[in-house]
Protein backbone atom coordinates (compact mmCIF):
# COMPACT_ATOMS: atom_id res chain seq x y z
CA UNK A 1 0.00 0.00 0.00
CA UNK A 2 1.78 3.06 -1.21
CA UNK A 3 1.83 6.30 0.69
CA UNK A 4 -0.38 9.14 -0.37
CA UNK A 5 1.82 11.72 -2.09
CA UNK A 6 0.12 14.46 -0.09
CA UNK A 7 -2.04 14.26 2.98
CA UNK A 8 -3.21 16.90 5.41
CA UNK A 9 -5.12 16.58 8.65
CA UNK A 10 -6.82 19.50 10.33
CA UNK A 11 -4.24 21.72 8.73
CA UNK A 12 -4.43 25.42 9.45
CA UNK A 13 -2.19 28.44 9.03
CA UNK A 14 -2.65 31.78 10.68
CA UNK A 15 -1.07 35.03 9.53
CA UNK A 16 -1.34 37.42 12.42
CA UNK A 17 -5.01 37.36 13.22
CA UNK A 18 -6.23 36.04 9.88
CA UNK A 19 -6.42 32.38 9.03
CA UNK A 20 -5.12 31.78 5.52
CA UNK A 21 -6.12 28.13 5.73
CA UNK A 22 -8.28 26.39 8.25
CA UNK A 23 -9.47 22.90 8.98
CA UNK A 24 -7.96 21.39 5.85
CA UNK A 25 -8.13 17.60 5.69
CA UNK A 26 -7.35 15.87 2.44
CA UNK A 27 -5.59 12.90 0.90
CA UNK A 28 -4.53 12.57 -2.67
CA UNK A 29 -4.22 9.12 -4.17
CA UNK A 30 -0.89 7.93 -5.60
CA UNK A 31 -0.32 8.83 -9.22
CA UNK A 32 -3.27 11.22 -9.32
CA UNK A 33 -3.32 14.43 -11.27
CA UNK A 34 -5.07 16.72 -8.86
CA UNK A 35 -6.70 20.02 -9.58
CA UNK A 36 -6.57 22.25 -6.53
CA UNK A 37 -9.41 24.63 -7.21
CA UNK A 38 -10.96 27.51 -5.39
CA UNK A 39 -11.35 31.24 -5.45
CA UNK A 40 -8.49 33.63 -4.77
CA UNK A 41 -7.44 33.79 -1.13
CA UNK A 42 -8.89 30.34 -0.53
CA UNK A 43 -5.55 29.11 0.75
CA UNK A 44 -4.29 27.17 -2.28
CA UNK A 45 -0.89 28.86 -2.25
CA UNK A 46 -0.75 28.54 1.51
CA UNK A 47 -1.41 24.82 1.26
CA UNK A 48 1.37 24.34 -1.28
CA UNK A 49 3.75 26.45 0.81
CA UNK A 50 2.98 24.27 3.80
CA UNK A 51 3.58 21.18 1.70
CA UNK A 52 7.07 22.37 0.79
CA UNK A 53 8.08 23.52 4.25
CA UNK A 54 8.16 27.17 3.25
CA UNK A 55 5.56 27.75 5.94
CA UNK A 56 5.06 26.02 9.26
CA UNK A 57 1.55 24.92 10.24
CA UNK A 58 -0.28 26.81 12.97
CA UNK A 59 -2.38 23.74 13.67
CA UNK A 60 -2.80 20.26 12.27
CA UNK A 61 -0.30 18.39 10.14
CA UNK A 62 0.77 17.81 6.58
CA UNK A 63 2.85 15.09 5.01
CA UNK A 64 4.37 14.75 1.58
CA UNK A 65 5.49 11.31 0.42
CA UNK A 66 4.96 10.28 3.99
CA UNK A 67 7.39 12.83 5.41
CA UNK A 68 7.03 16.02 7.40
CA UNK A 69 8.46 18.68 5.06
CA UNK A 70 9.87 20.69 7.95
CA UNK A 71 11.44 17.88 9.89
CA UNK A 72 12.58 15.65 7.02
CA UNK A 73 13.43 18.39 4.57
CA UNK A 74 15.47 15.94 2.52
CA UNK A 75 12.14 14.88 1.00
CA UNK A 76 12.18 18.16 -0.91
CA UNK A 77 14.73 16.58 -3.23
CA UNK A 78 11.97 14.24 -4.37
CA UNK A 79 9.37 16.95 -4.84
CA UNK A 80 9.14 19.55 -7.54
CA UNK A 81 7.57 22.89 -6.74
CA UNK A 82 6.93 25.94 -8.87
CA UNK A 83 5.68 28.91 -6.89
CA UNK A 84 3.27 31.46 -8.27
CA UNK A 85 4.95 33.52 -10.97
CA UNK A 86 7.62 30.88 -11.54
CA UNK A 87 10.36 32.70 -9.58
CA UNK A 88 13.83 32.20 -10.97
CA UNK A 89 17.14 34.05 -10.72
CA UNK A 90 16.68 36.72 -13.33
CA UNK A 91 20.37 37.47 -13.77
CA UNK A 92 21.20 33.83 -14.45
CA UNK A 93 21.29 32.58 -17.98
CA UNK A 94 19.14 29.60 -18.94
CA UNK A 95 22.21 27.36 -18.89
CA UNK A 96 23.22 28.66 -15.47
CA UNK A 97 19.75 28.00 -14.14
CA UNK A 98 20.02 24.38 -15.24
CA UNK A 99 23.47 24.22 -13.67
CA UNK A 100 22.00 25.53 -10.44
CA UNK A 101 19.41 22.74 -10.47
CA UNK A 102 22.07 20.21 -11.30
CA UNK A 103 24.20 21.29 -8.36
CA UNK A 104 21.45 21.44 -5.77
CA UNK A 105 19.66 18.20 -6.58
CA UNK A 106 21.28 14.80 -6.05
CA UNK A 107 19.13 13.07 -8.67
CA UNK A 108 19.25 15.21 -11.74
CA UNK A 109 18.63 14.00 -15.25
CA UNK A 110 20.00 16.21 -17.99
CA UNK A 111 18.33 14.16 -20.72
CA UNK A 112 14.88 15.62 -20.25
CA UNK A 113 15.95 19.23 -20.42
CA UNK A 114 16.26 19.86 -24.17
CA UNK A 115 12.59 19.24 -24.98
CA UNK A 116 11.62 21.96 -22.55
CA UNK A 117 14.02 24.52 -23.97
CA UNK A 118 13.09 24.42 -27.63
CA UNK A 119 13.41 27.85 -29.27
CA UNK A 120 15.31 29.18 -26.24
CA UNK A 121 18.99 30.04 -26.53
CA UNK A 122 20.91 28.74 -23.54
CA UNK A 123 22.79 32.01 -23.03
CA UNK A 124 19.62 34.08 -22.71
CA UNK A 125 19.17 35.73 -19.35
CA UNK A 126 16.12 34.54 -17.46
CA UNK A 127 14.94 38.12 -17.13
CA UNK A 128 14.70 38.34 -20.92
CA UNK A 129 12.49 35.30 -21.33
CA UNK A 130 8.77 35.53 -22.00
CA UNK A 131 6.30 34.26 -19.42
CA UNK A 132 5.75 31.07 -21.38
CA UNK A 133 9.48 30.42 -21.71
CA UNK A 134 10.02 31.04 -18.00
CA UNK A 135 7.22 28.63 -17.19
CA UNK A 136 8.83 25.97 -19.35
CA UNK A 137 12.21 26.55 -17.74
CA UNK A 138 10.69 26.31 -14.27
CA UNK A 139 8.99 23.08 -15.33
CA UNK A 140 12.30 21.73 -16.64
CA UNK A 141 13.90 22.49 -13.29
CA UNK A 142 11.18 20.62 -11.53
CA UNK A 143 10.94 17.58 -13.77
CA UNK A 144 14.70 17.24 -14.23
CA UNK A 145 15.02 16.08 -10.67
CA UNK A 146 12.72 13.17 -11.39
CA UNK A 147 10.28 14.02 -8.63
CA UNK A 148 7.62 11.75 -7.22
CA UNK A 149 5.30 14.67 -6.62
CA UNK A 150 4.93 17.89 -8.57
CA UNK A 151 3.28 20.97 -7.06
CA UNK A 152 2.37 23.84 -9.36
CA UNK A 153 0.92 27.07 -8.03
CA UNK A 154 -1.14 28.92 -10.64
CA UNK A 155 1.16 27.96 -13.53
CA UNK A 156 -1.07 29.47 -16.21
CA UNK A 157 -1.24 33.02 -14.97
CA UNK A 158 0.28 35.30 -17.57
CA UNK A 159 0.58 32.59 -20.18
CA UNK A 160 -1.09 32.98 -23.56
CA UNK A 161 -3.21 29.97 -24.57
CA UNK A 162 -0.50 28.53 -26.78
CA UNK A 163 2.12 28.74 -24.07
CA UNK A 164 -0.32 27.24 -21.60
CA UNK A 165 -1.05 24.35 -23.95
CA UNK A 166 2.64 23.74 -24.55
CA UNK A 167 3.24 23.74 -20.81
CA UNK A 168 0.57 21.10 -20.26
CA UNK A 169 1.80 19.01 -23.17
CA UNK A 170 5.31 18.87 -21.71
CA UNK A 171 4.01 18.07 -18.27
CA UNK A 172 1.64 15.34 -19.41
CA UNK A 173 4.25 13.80 -21.66
CA UNK A 174 6.53 13.45 -18.64
CA UNK A 175 3.72 11.99 -16.54
CA UNK A 176 2.90 9.50 -19.27
CA UNK A 177 6.48 8.32 -19.23
CA UNK A 178 6.93 8.14 -15.47
CA UNK A 179 3.80 8.06 -13.33
CA UNK A 180 4.03 11.08 -11.06
CA UNK A 181 1.52 12.67 -8.74
CA UNK A 182 0.77 16.24 -9.74
CA UNK A 183 -1.12 18.96 -7.91
CA UNK A 184 -2.05 22.01 -9.98
CA UNK A 185 -3.52 24.94 -8.11
CA UNK A 186 -5.56 27.17 -10.36
CA UNK A 187 -8.53 29.43 -9.95
CA UNK A 188 -9.46 28.89 -13.59
CA UNK A 189 -11.11 25.49 -13.92
CA UNK A 190 -10.97 25.24 -17.67
CA UNK A 191 -7.17 25.25 -17.55
CA UNK A 192 -6.99 22.10 -15.48
CA UNK A 193 -10.13 20.33 -16.55
CA UNK A 194 -8.29 18.66 -19.41
CA UNK A 195 -5.85 16.79 -17.27
CA UNK A 196 -7.13 16.30 -13.75
CA UNK A 197 -8.57 13.04 -12.57
CA UNK A 198 -8.94 14.22 -8.99
CA UNK A 199 -10.27 17.47 -7.59
CA UNK A 200 -9.86 19.27 -4.30
CA UNK A 201 -12.00 22.38 -3.90
CA UNK A 202 -10.70 24.77 -1.30
CA UNK A 203 -12.61 27.76 0.00
CA UNK A 204 -11.99 30.02 2.97
CA UNK A 205 -13.86 27.56 5.11
CA UNK A 206 -11.64 24.62 4.27
CA UNK A 207 -12.01 21.68 1.88
CA UNK A 208 -15.47 21.92 0.33
CA UNK A 209 -15.21 19.00 -2.00
CA UNK A 210 -12.68 16.39 -2.92
CA UNK A 211 -12.76 13.25 -4.97
CA UNK A 212 -12.27 11.48 -8.24
CA UNK A 213 -13.55 13.63 -11.10
CA UNK A 214 -15.36 10.82 -12.82
CA UNK A 215 -17.12 9.77 -9.65
CA UNK A 216 -18.11 13.33 -8.87
CA UNK A 217 -19.48 13.92 -12.32
CA UNK A 218 -21.22 10.58 -12.19
CA UNK A 219 -22.89 11.26 -8.87
CA UNK A 220 -24.13 14.79 -9.52
CA UNK A 221 -27.02 15.76 -11.74
CA UNK A 222 -28.92 18.87 -12.66
CA UNK A 223 -32.65 18.53 -12.20
CA UNK A 224 -34.99 20.98 -13.90
CA UNK A 225 -38.70 21.11 -13.47
CA UNK A 226 -41.72 23.23 -12.67
CA UNK A 227 -41.45 25.18 -9.50
CA UNK A 228 -42.98 23.45 -6.51
CA UNK A 229 -42.37 22.95 -2.82
CA UNK A 230 -39.57 20.52 -2.35
CA UNK A 231 -40.02 17.14 -0.81
CA UNK A 232 -37.54 14.35 -0.97
CA UNK A 233 -36.88 13.00 -4.41
CA UNK A 234 -36.19 9.35 -5.04
CA UNK A 235 -32.53 8.97 -5.90
CA UNK A 236 -31.46 12.31 -4.54
CA UNK A 237 -29.24 12.12 -1.50
CA UNK A 238 -28.54 15.79 -1.10
CA UNK A 239 -29.36 19.07 -2.79
CA UNK A 240 -26.24 21.12 -3.40
CA UNK A 241 -27.80 24.19 -4.96
CA UNK A 242 -31.27 25.37 -5.67
CA UNK A 243 -32.27 28.06 -8.10
CA UNK A 244 -35.66 29.14 -9.24
CA UNK A 245 -37.42 31.58 -11.49
CA UNK A 246 -41.11 32.31 -11.23
CA UNK A 247 -42.08 29.05 -12.85
CA UNK A 248 -39.01 26.89 -12.90
CA UNK A 249 -36.86 25.17 -10.33
CA UNK A 250 -33.30 24.04 -11.02
CA UNK A 251 -31.46 21.83 -8.59
CA UNK A 252 -27.92 20.54 -8.47
CA UNK A 253 -28.05 17.30 -6.55
CA UNK A 254 -25.99 14.38 -5.36
CA UNK A 255 -27.61 11.13 -6.40
CA UNK A 256 -27.27 7.72 -4.86
CA UNK A 257 -29.16 5.92 -7.58
CA UNK A 258 -30.63 6.74 -10.98
CA UNK A 259 -33.48 9.19 -10.85
CA UNK A 260 -36.60 7.88 -12.52
CA UNK A 261 -38.95 10.64 -11.42
CA UNK A 262 -40.32 11.89 -14.73
CA UNK A 263 -41.36 15.25 -13.33
CA UNK A 264 -37.74 16.29 -13.55
CA UNK A 265 -35.45 16.69 -16.49
CA UNK A 266 -32.17 15.07 -15.48
CA UNK A 267 -28.93 16.25 -17.04
CA UNK A 268 -25.26 15.73 -16.29
CA UNK A 269 -23.27 18.62 -14.91
CA UNK A 270 -19.92 19.94 -16.12
CA UNK A 271 -16.97 20.20 -13.76
CA UNK A 272 -16.82 23.98 -13.75
CA UNK A 273 -20.54 24.25 -13.01
CA UNK A 274 -20.18 21.72 -10.22
CA UNK A 275 -17.31 23.51 -8.56
CA UNK A 276 -18.99 26.89 -8.85
CA UNK A 277 -22.04 25.51 -7.09
CA UNK A 278 -19.93 24.23 -4.20
CA UNK A 279 -18.04 27.49 -4.00
CA UNK A 280 -21.22 29.50 -3.42
CA UNK A 281 -21.19 30.91 0.11
CA UNK A 282 -24.68 29.85 1.10
CA UNK A 283 -25.68 26.34 0.38
CA UNK A 284 -29.35 25.51 0.80
CA UNK A 285 -30.59 23.14 3.41
CA UNK A 286 -31.35 19.57 2.59
CA UNK A 287 -35.03 19.04 1.71
CA UNK A 288 -37.43 19.65 4.60
CA UNK A 289 -38.87 16.62 6.34
CA UNK A 290 -42.23 15.41 4.95
CA UNK A 291 -44.29 16.47 7.97
CA UNK A 292 -43.47 20.07 7.43
CA UNK A 293 -44.59 20.49 3.86
CA UNK A 294 -47.28 18.87 1.76
CA UNK A 295 -45.78 16.49 -0.72
CA UNK A 296 -46.69 17.29 -4.22
CA UNK A 297 -44.83 15.58 -6.91
CA UNK A 298 -46.03 13.70 -9.85
CA UNK A 299 -45.22 10.07 -9.38
Amino acid sequence: MSLPPLAAHGLGKRFGREWGLRDCTLTIPPGAIVGLAGPNAAGKSTLLSLATGLLAPSEGSISVLGCDPLRDSAVLGRIGYVAQGAPLYRSFSVAETIEFARRTNPRWDDAIVPEFLTRIASQTKVGALSAGERARLALALVLGKRPELVLLDEPFVGLDPLAGREFLQLLMDRVAETPTAVVIASHVIADIERVCDHIVLLTRGGVRLQGDVEELLGSHRILTGPRRPLGSIRGVREIVRERHSDRQLTLLVVTDRPIVDRSWTVEPVGLEELLLAYMAPERPLTPPTPERLPLQWHG
Binding site: F15, S49, T52, G53, L54, L55, A56, L70, S73, A74, L76, G77, I79, Y81, A83, G85, P87, L88, Y89, R90, F92, E96, E99, F100, A101, R103, T104, N105, P106, R107, L141, K145
Partner: protein
Protein backbone atom coordinates in the same frame (compact mmCIF):
# COMPACT_ATOMS: atom_id res chain seq x y z
CA UNK B 1 27.10 24.89 -3.24
CA UNK B 2 30.51 26.30 -4.14
CA UNK B 3 29.42 26.99 -7.72
CA UNK B 4 26.10 28.45 -6.60
CA UNK B 5 27.77 30.72 -4.05
CA UNK B 6 30.33 31.89 -6.57
CA UNK B 7 27.71 32.56 -9.26
CA UNK B 8 25.46 34.50 -6.95
CA UNK B 9 28.17 36.54 -5.31
CA UNK B 10 30.81 36.84 -7.99
CA UNK B 11 30.19 40.56 -8.46
CA UNK B 12 30.89 41.16 -4.78
CA UNK B 13 33.94 38.94 -4.73
CA UNK B 14 35.39 40.56 -7.83
CA UNK B 15 34.76 44.01 -6.33
CA UNK B 16 36.51 42.93 -3.14
CA UNK B 17 39.49 41.69 -5.09
CA UNK B 18 39.52 44.97 -6.99
CA UNK B 19 39.51 46.99 -3.79
CA UNK B 20 42.34 44.89 -2.46
CA UNK B 21 44.32 45.46 -5.61
CA UNK B 22 43.72 49.19 -5.34
CA UNK B 23 44.85 49.17 -1.76
CA UNK B 24 47.96 47.21 -2.64
CA UNK B 25 48.89 49.52 -5.49
CA UNK B 26 48.27 52.63 -3.40
CA UNK B 27 50.36 51.17 -0.61
CA UNK B 28 53.19 50.31 -2.95
CA UNK B 29 53.13 53.67 -4.65
CA UNK B 30 53.08 55.71 -1.47
CA UNK B 31 55.54 53.57 0.38
CA UNK B 32 58.58 54.59 -1.63
CA UNK B 33 58.68 58.27 -0.59
CA UNK B 34 57.87 57.32 2.99
CA UNK B 35 60.67 54.81 3.33
CA UNK B 36 63.21 57.07 1.67
CA UNK B 37 62.23 59.95 3.97
CA UNK B 38 62.42 57.64 6.94
CA UNK B 39 65.87 56.43 6.06
CA UNK B 40 67.09 59.76 4.84
CA UNK B 41 66.28 61.43 8.11
CA UNK B 42 67.59 58.51 10.12
CA UNK B 43 64.35 58.46 11.97
CA UNK B 44 65.21 55.09 13.40
CA UNK B 45 67.55 56.92 15.69
CA UNK B 46 64.67 58.96 16.95
CA UNK B 47 62.63 56.14 18.30
CA UNK B 48 61.48 56.53 21.85
CA UNK B 49 62.94 56.35 24.32
CA UNK B 50 66.16 57.31 22.64
CA UNK B 51 64.99 60.76 21.80
CA UNK B 52 68.01 62.87 21.10
CA UNK B 53 67.81 66.56 20.71
CA UNK B 54 66.27 67.78 17.52
CA UNK B 55 64.42 64.51 17.14
CA UNK B 56 61.04 65.85 17.89
CA UNK B 57 61.42 68.41 15.13
CA UNK B 58 62.39 65.70 12.64
CA UNK B 59 59.54 63.50 13.78
CA UNK B 60 57.03 66.32 13.57
CA UNK B 61 58.27 67.16 10.09
CA UNK B 62 57.89 63.57 9.02
CA UNK B 63 54.42 63.37 10.47
CA UNK B 64 53.26 66.56 8.85
CA UNK B 65 54.65 65.39 5.52
CA UNK B 66 52.93 62.03 5.55
CA UNK B 67 50.34 62.38 8.26
CA UNK B 68 47.54 62.94 5.81
CA UNK B 69 48.39 59.67 4.10
CA UNK B 70 48.35 57.87 7.41
CA UNK B 71 44.94 59.35 8.06
CA UNK B 72 43.74 58.26 4.63
CA UNK B 73 44.75 54.68 5.34
CA UNK B 74 42.32 54.65 8.22
CA UNK B 75 39.61 54.19 5.62
CA UNK B 76 40.54 50.51 5.79
CA UNK B 77 38.49 50.47 8.98
CA UNK B 78 35.48 50.65 6.69
CA UNK B 79 36.29 47.34 4.96
CA UNK B 80 34.69 45.06 7.57
CA UNK B 81 31.49 47.10 7.43
CA UNK B 82 31.48 46.70 3.65
CA UNK B 83 31.57 42.95 4.10
CA UNK B 84 28.48 43.16 6.24
CA UNK B 85 26.61 45.58 4.04
CA UNK B 86 27.37 44.29 0.58
CA UNK B 87 28.00 40.61 1.10
CA UNK B 88 26.11 39.68 4.27
CA UNK B 89 22.94 41.75 4.05
CA UNK B 90 21.96 40.86 0.47
CA UNK B 91 22.51 37.13 1.03
CA UNK B 92 19.11 36.47 2.53
CA UNK B 93 17.42 39.81 1.94
CA UNK B 94 17.74 39.58 -1.83
CA UNK B 95 16.32 36.06 -1.93
CA UNK B 96 13.36 37.00 0.26
CA UNK B 97 12.77 40.26 -1.57
CA UNK B 98 12.60 38.62 -4.99
CA UNK B 99 10.86 35.45 -3.87
CA UNK B 100 13.71 33.30 -5.14
CA UNK B 101 13.91 31.63 -1.75
CA UNK B 102 10.97 29.61 -3.06
CA UNK B 103 13.38 28.15 -5.59
CA UNK B 104 16.48 28.02 -3.40
CA UNK B 105 14.80 26.29 -0.47
CA UNK B 106 12.80 23.69 -2.37
CA UNK B 107 15.69 21.86 -3.99
CA UNK B 108 17.61 18.90 -2.66
CA UNK B 109 19.67 21.07 -0.30
CA UNK B 110 18.11 21.78 3.07
CA UNK B 111 17.67 25.36 4.14
CA UNK B 112 20.24 25.09 6.90
CA UNK B 113 22.84 23.45 4.73
CA UNK B 114 22.25 26.04 2.07
CA UNK B 115 22.79 28.87 4.54
CA UNK B 116 25.74 27.28 6.28
CA UNK B 117 27.56 26.47 3.03
CA UNK B 118 27.09 29.94 1.62
CA UNK B 119 28.06 31.67 4.83
CA UNK B 120 31.13 29.50 5.34
CA UNK B 121 32.38 30.08 1.81
CA UNK B 122 31.76 33.81 1.95
CA UNK B 123 33.33 33.96 5.39
CA UNK B 124 36.46 32.31 4.06
CA UNK B 125 36.64 34.80 1.21
CA UNK B 126 36.02 37.68 3.61
CA UNK B 127 38.74 36.54 5.99
CA UNK B 128 41.19 36.10 3.14
CA UNK B 129 40.49 39.56 1.76
CA UNK B 130 40.53 41.44 5.03
CA UNK B 131 43.55 39.57 6.38
CA UNK B 132 45.45 40.53 3.24
CA UNK B 133 44.32 44.12 3.60
CA UNK B 134 45.43 44.09 7.22
CA UNK B 135 48.82 42.69 6.26
CA UNK B 136 49.27 45.37 3.62
CA UNK B 137 48.40 48.05 6.16
CA UNK B 138 50.77 46.63 8.76
CA UNK B 139 53.60 46.61 6.26
CA UNK B 140 52.81 50.12 5.09
CA UNK B 141 52.39 51.53 8.58
CA UNK B 142 55.59 50.16 10.07
CA UNK B 143 57.41 53.55 10.05
CA UNK B 144 54.42 55.15 11.77
CA UNK B 145 54.04 52.26 14.15
CA UNK B 146 57.59 52.59 15.32
CA UNK B 147 57.14 56.30 15.87
CA UNK B 148 53.67 56.49 17.36
CA UNK B 149 52.88 52.91 18.21
CA UNK B 150 49.95 50.85 17.06
CA UNK B 151 48.00 50.10 20.15
CA UNK B 152 46.20 53.40 19.69
CA UNK B 153 42.87 53.01 17.97
CA UNK B 154 44.21 54.73 14.85
CA UNK B 155 46.58 51.82 14.34
CA UNK B 156 44.90 49.06 16.31
CA UNK B 157 41.65 49.07 14.34
CA UNK B 158 43.27 48.56 10.97
CA UNK B 159 46.07 46.14 11.74
CA UNK B 160 46.47 42.61 12.95
CA UNK B 161 43.81 40.03 13.68
CA UNK B 162 40.93 42.35 14.43
CA UNK B 163 40.23 43.36 10.85
CA UNK B 164 39.17 39.89 9.71
CA UNK B 165 37.37 39.40 13.02
CA UNK B 166 35.35 42.59 12.55
CA UNK B 167 34.56 41.51 9.01
CA UNK B 168 33.28 38.11 10.14
CA UNK B 169 31.07 39.77 12.71
CA UNK B 170 29.74 42.29 10.19
CA UNK B 171 29.08 39.49 7.70
CA UNK B 172 27.16 37.49 10.29
CA UNK B 173 25.17 40.57 11.32
CA UNK B 174 24.33 41.26 7.70
CA UNK B 175 23.02 37.75 7.13
CA UNK B 176 20.84 37.89 10.24
CA UNK B 177 19.58 41.35 9.33
CA UNK B 178 18.63 40.05 5.89
CA UNK B 179 16.54 37.34 7.48
CA UNK B 180 14.87 39.62 9.98
CA UNK B 181 14.17 42.60 7.71
CA UNK B 182 13.72 40.77 4.38
CA UNK B 183 14.58 43.89 2.40
CA UNK B 184 18.11 44.67 1.28
CA UNK B 185 18.17 48.38 2.13
CA UNK B 186 16.63 47.89 5.55
CA UNK B 187 19.02 45.04 6.26
CA UNK B 188 22.02 47.11 5.21
CA UNK B 189 20.96 49.98 7.45
CA UNK B 190 20.40 47.72 10.42
CA UNK B 191 23.75 46.02 9.85
CA UNK B 192 25.59 49.31 9.74
CA UNK B 193 23.95 50.58 12.90
CA UNK B 194 24.46 47.36 14.84
CA UNK B 195 28.04 46.96 13.69
CA UNK B 196 29.05 50.54 14.42
CA UNK B 197 27.35 50.45 17.80
CA UNK B 198 29.11 47.25 18.80
CA UNK B 199 32.50 48.50 17.69
CA UNK B 200 32.00 51.74 19.54
CA UNK B 201 30.87 50.01 22.70
CA UNK B 202 33.80 47.62 22.70
CA UNK B 203 36.28 50.38 21.97
CA UNK B 204 34.90 52.72 24.61
CA UNK B 205 34.05 50.40 27.46
CA UNK B 206 35.79 47.07 26.98
CA UNK B 207 39.11 47.51 25.27
CA UNK B 208 40.52 49.94 27.82
CA UNK B 209 40.02 47.23 30.41
CA UNK B 210 41.10 44.06 28.64
CA UNK B 211 43.98 44.15 31.05
CA UNK B 212 44.18 46.53 33.98
CA UNK B 213 45.52 49.82 32.76
CA UNK B 214 48.81 51.01 34.12
CA UNK B 215 49.12 54.23 36.02
CA UNK B 216 51.94 56.65 36.05
CA UNK B 217 52.31 59.51 38.38
CA UNK B 218 54.78 62.08 37.21
CA UNK B 219 55.68 65.62 37.96
CA UNK B 220 54.10 68.02 35.54
CA UNK B 221 57.57 69.11 34.52
CA UNK B 222 58.76 65.66 33.62
CA UNK B 223 58.64 64.61 29.98
CA UNK B 224 55.44 62.86 29.09
CA UNK B 225 54.91 59.15 28.50
CA UNK B 226 56.68 57.68 25.54
CA UNK B 227 54.83 57.75 22.26
CA UNK B 228 53.56 54.32 21.34
CA UNK B 229 51.47 53.67 24.40
CA UNK B 230 47.74 54.12 24.36
CA UNK B 231 46.96 57.02 26.67
CA UNK B 232 43.58 56.53 28.28
CA UNK B 233 43.65 59.58 30.44
CA UNK B 234 46.12 62.28 31.24
CA UNK B 235 45.02 64.56 34.06
CA UNK B 236 46.37 66.84 36.70
CA UNK B 237 45.61 65.92 40.27
CA UNK B 238 46.31 67.84 43.40
CA UNK B 239 48.14 66.61 46.45
CA UNK B 240 44.93 65.10 47.75
CA UNK B 241 44.36 63.15 44.53
CA UNK B 242 41.49 65.30 43.30
CA UNK B 243 41.38 66.14 39.66
CA UNK B 244 42.20 69.70 38.79
CA UNK B 245 39.56 71.36 36.69
CA UNK B 246 40.57 73.53 33.77
CA UNK B 247 39.38 76.56 35.66
CA UNK B 248 41.62 75.82 38.56
CA UNK B 249 44.53 75.11 36.26
CA UNK B 250 44.04 78.39 34.42
CA UNK B 251 43.94 80.20 37.73
CA UNK B 252 47.24 78.69 38.82
CA UNK B 253 48.87 79.56 35.50
CA UNK B 254 47.62 83.14 35.76
CA UNK B 255 48.92 83.34 39.30
CA UNK B 256 52.33 82.07 38.19
CA UNK B 257 52.49 84.51 35.30
CA UNK B 258 51.61 87.43 37.57
CA UNK B 259 54.29 86.32 39.95
CA UNK B 260 56.78 85.93 37.09
CA UNK B 261 57.39 82.22 37.80
CA UNK B 262 57.42 79.45 35.20
CA UNK B 263 53.98 77.89 35.40
CA UNK B 264 55.27 74.31 35.32
CA UNK B 265 57.63 74.87 38.24
CA UNK B 266 54.86 76.63 40.15
CA UNK B 267 52.52 73.68 39.67
CA UNK B 268 55.29 71.38 40.93
CA UNK B 269 55.55 73.37 44.13
CA UNK B 270 51.81 73.13 44.64
CA UNK B 271 52.29 69.42 44.94
CA UNK B 272 50.18 68.75 41.91
CA UNK B 273 50.96 65.64 39.87
CA UNK B 274 50.24 64.44 36.36
CA UNK B 275 48.35 61.17 36.44
CA UNK B 276 48.57 59.13 33.27
CA UNK B 277 46.50 56.02 32.73
CA UNK B 278 47.63 54.01 29.78
CA UNK B 279 47.99 50.67 28.09
CA UNK B 280 51.57 49.92 27.16
CA UNK B 281 52.55 49.31 23.56
CA UNK B 282 53.80 45.84 24.39
CA UNK B 283 50.25 44.65 24.99
CA UNK B 284 49.32 45.10 21.30
CA UNK B 285 49.17 41.42 20.36
CA UNK B 286 47.47 40.39 23.58
CA UNK B 287 44.76 42.96 23.03
CA UNK B 288 44.49 41.94 19.39
CA UNK B 289 43.86 38.36 20.43
CA UNK B 290 41.28 39.33 23.00
CA UNK B 291 39.34 41.66 20.74
CA UNK B 292 39.53 39.38 17.72
CA UNK B 293 38.43 36.46 19.86
CA UNK B 294 35.53 38.49 21.17
CA UNK B 295 34.29 39.46 17.73
CA UNK B 296 34.70 35.96 16.32
CA UNK B 297 32.70 34.60 19.25
CA UNK B 298 30.00 37.19 18.57
CA UNK B 299 30.00 36.24 14.90
CA UNK B 300 29.53 32.57 15.74
CA UNK B 301 26.68 33.39 18.12
CA UNK B 302 24.94 35.48 15.47
CA UNK B 303 25.29 32.71 12.89
CA UNK B 304 23.79 30.18 15.32
CA UNK B 305 20.84 32.47 15.93
CA UNK B 306 20.34 32.83 12.19
CA UNK B 307 20.44 29.08 11.66
CA UNK B 308 17.85 28.62 14.36
CA UNK B 309 15.62 31.40 13.05
CA UNK B 310 15.70 30.38 9.42
CA UNK B 311 13.64 27.28 10.06
CA UNK B 312 10.98 29.23 11.84
CA UNK B 313 10.55 32.18 9.57
CA UNK B 314 7.27 32.15 7.71
CA UNK B 315 7.77 32.99 4.10
Amino acid sequence: MAWVTWRQHRAQLVAAAGLLLLLGLAALGTDIPIRSAYRGNALSNCLPPNARSGCDIIVRHFESQFGSWADAVRVVAVLPALAGLFVGAPLLARELEHGTHRVAWTQGVTRRRWLLSKTALLAAATVATTATASAIVMWWRSPFDTLEGRINPSGFDIEGLVVPAYALFALALGVLAGLVFRRTVAAMTATLVAFAATRLLVLTFLRPHFLSPLHWSILPTDPGPPAGDWILSDTLVDAGGRQITTGREDLAVQHAQLAGIDPHTYIDTLGWKRLVTYQPAGRFWTFQLIEAGLFVALAVAVVLVTLWLIRRTPT
